[in-house]
Subunit: 456 residues, 2 copies
């Protein structure tokens, strides 16, 4: 109660501070298997000044602060494992400026990607990154998210030109500018992107946006086996055509989709593709893609150009995670997120399947084939210690396989709570310097404590 009133005094509106059980409970969990950790209090920030005052207070009182958006994170990033303040930024959801002739927007961190795309559409513009969930842009920057379009547009770190952030001591700073490139000094913008709320709280982002292509074509290409799909993917990447998305969905996932949606898709490895550009260019690229797929023994090649039919075709891919969740609705989702060198992907997916089978559990596999990033989704009961142990063992073996080949434990979901040990293994060289950076920007360790590393 004391904390609640102390925080309320810092903010314009007492409604911005809540200790209600339901709200605290909501803010104690994300989309993942990670068991909840309740905050003592939830603060709804409405301005950078709110954030600044809360952090300055927290810093002087050594009070943990865990920033969050719509909490679609998959590794427990937003769970306040040490209690304290859950700093909710969803009310900072204004699109501050659209600069169509600069291909830029300025947004508050609580704006979601779909909200932004809706606002951009009248300008013929889009923010193409698509991690699946309708995440906030602040959250996407915090984890360096990407998703199905990274093969064409790159990851979140490549989209952020400028950040306004509040540091642990309450100081508000800007890190970048409005030009599309810069070589002016150390790249603090890129350091803060992907820092998972442990170095600063993002209060504003300047992002690149892109022209909506004249034509977009979606393709579903079915293959007799995994390596045929993998070969086709490589040959397409190597052909010099412009690929908008290239996703691999395995037969187990297709089965989950059929069961969830009542569809009857082929139970075989399937590539979901998207091509975009000028109409003639897309037709040309589509012809090459079809040829490449056929050369790899593709058994079915379906394409759609009209928006609705195209969306329907992609539904199977878009709803895949949801479909897998529906195989065990009473459980929670655990998702691996390794990324391997491109040439290793088919083999890595086969190895993952063998690991899953050896442990007798159910797992669906989805891959961003253009990046070497794939996910195994399994449904777990966080209260069942044995089930959690098996799931973690499967994850551990999949991560180890990736690390042995120069890959990473996380392509896009971030470290959070779930990959602390793997980060230490993957970046043994730089971990001491990551901890030194943490100490530099957050000497009292109030920002999202317990994430990325346990101690620093």
């Amino acid at each position: 109660m004391e904390l609640q009133s102390a925080l309320s005094e810092l903010l314009p509106d007492p409604e911005q501070v809540s200790v209600g059980e339901t709200i605290r409970d909501h803010h104690g969990q994300d989309l993942s298997y990670v068991r909840k950790g309740l905050p003592d209090v939830v603060v709804f920030a409405r301005s950078k000044e709110d954030v600044s005052r809360v952090l300055a207070f927290a810093d002087s009182h050594r009070l943990p602060v865990t920033p969050c958006g719509v909490r679609t994170s998959l590794e427990g990033h937003v769970i306040p494992v040490e209690g304290g303040v859950s700093l909710d930024l969803t009310q900072m959801n204004q699109i501050l400026e659209i600069r169509p002739r600069d291909f830029l927007v300025r947004v508050q961190p609580g704006v979601t990607r779909m909200q932004l795309n809706k606002a951009l559409k009248p300008y013929g513009l889009q923010f193409p990154l698509d991690p699946g969930a309708d995440a906030t842009l602040g959250g996407m920057a915090a984890t360096n998210a990407s998703g199905t379009t990274a093969v064409r547009y790159g990851v979140m770190r490549s989209q952020v030109l400028d950040l306004e952030v509040v540091l642990a001591n309450g100081e508000i700073i800007r890190t970048g500018g409005l030009s599309l490139k810069s070589s002016a000094g150390y790249h603090l913008t890129g350091l803060f992107v992907g820092s998972e709320g442990t170095l600063c709280v993002i209060t504003e982002l300047t992002l690149r946006v892109y022209a909506i292509p004249e034509t977009t074509v979606a393709v579903r290409a079915v293959f007799p086996h995994l390596s045929a799909a993998g070969d086709a993917a490589f040959d397409m990447m190597n052909s010099g055509i412009v690929i908008g998305r290239i996703e691999l969905v395995d037969e187990f996932t297709m089965d989950a989709v059929n069961r969830a949606k009542g569809t009857s898709y082929d139970l075989r490895p399937t590539l979901f593709l998207e091509f975009h550009g000028s109409d003639a260019a897309v037709q040309a690229d589509l012809a090459i893609a079809r040829e490449v797929c056929n050369d790899s023994g593709c058994v079915d090649f379906i394409f759609e150009t009209e928006t609705e039919a195209r969306n329907q075709l992609w539904d199977a891919r878009h709803d895949a995670a949801l479909a897998v969740i529906q195989t065990a609705p009473q459980k929670k989702m655990k998702v691996t997120d390794v990324c391997v060198p491109l040439s290793e992907l088919s083999q890595a997916i086969r190895a993952a399947r063998a690991i899953i089978d050896a442990h007798g559990i159910y797992g669906a596999i989805l891959g961003h084939v253009g990046d070497g990033n794939y996910h195994v989704i399994f449904m777990v009961n966080p209260e069942d210690a044995k089930e959690m142990r098996v799931a973690e063992e499967v994850n551990r073996q999949i991560v180890r396989y990736a690390l042995e080949r120069g890959g990473t434990c996380t392509g896009e979901h971030g470290v959070g709570l779930g990959k602390i040990a793997y980060l230490a293994e993957e970046h043994a060289d730089t971990l001491p310097y990551m901890k030194a950076l943490k100490k530099l920007f957050d000497p009292n360790g109030i920002l999202n404590p317990g994430k990325l590393f346990k101690r620093f």
Copy 2:
């Protein structure tokens, strides 16, 4: 002599250490107007162990170390202004591994981009970044270089997946991995890229490479005036076609080219374009580009598909800087490097022309129109204090104009010695943290002292 023998003892071969006057003199200058600063000794590193031993020695003796490649930098980055060691990395020029199916290469820092492209060609691959000079890849990473293809492939920071670096204390660490994306912890790779030799010495790079497109077409499009060219550039960017390069050359530069090469190009603002992809896609994009150019009053639209003719067409752009140098061969080059929001570019170039004219000097303008980055090249005599003052005043006004519009003082050349004051102005918020980072990684300030900031 004492220093020479101390360093020689650290290295396998006494030939690796030189105090010869000619060699020291070479290592006291770069391509730019900056007056030379002689090193006491030049060390030619041949391995990471060499670098490590030299740095450990230098760190314990507080001896300045200025790393360098082929010294094509344009702001004095490689000039050892505080004496000490010029650490020459050009003998570390091995291409260590080409991984065609991963679209990756591993190289030593002294490999130049043309050397790499020659080795990649048999694989149908390319490293597309083109800053003009045949710079070393280590140097390009150190300044976050880019050039004419950034509009398509991004800047150097987006190409580097992994670095092996030696820290000031001699410690050798790896920062990244072989996967195309990662969200594993703080992005040290991106922090070291662009750090201009002030945080570490790069001893190995893992870089993305790309399929050579099936077809490439080069275009020269001549416009009646600057804003027509600017409008055409924007409309092309907005059309959703894939642009490989899009460069603006002003009439003054075309004049210098004509004089240097005996050509008779139109003395009007000219866009040099490149389109690439599958043959049909390129033909389609080319048709759209022509239409867009015509709509903006283009008076001439010449395109070439065959390699030789294409290169010839691009000669005027490629050799533009050289042509400007030939207008005053006894002088040295000073180049501005601001980058502004895209919509501001035409106006910024007009303003730059007015600033140049108001000061009665000769300046040629070239622009990377897809990025908002443009250069004014003027020839100066570094010994002529008045001429240097005028040139700096012109630069100052051009930078001020860019900063007032959210731009940057340097789009791709870096800060070096020449933009220390502008960096402080542009990044007043983050400068204290840049200095703190410098202190963290190089507490004794031995690495490239005097660059980026005077003191930290």
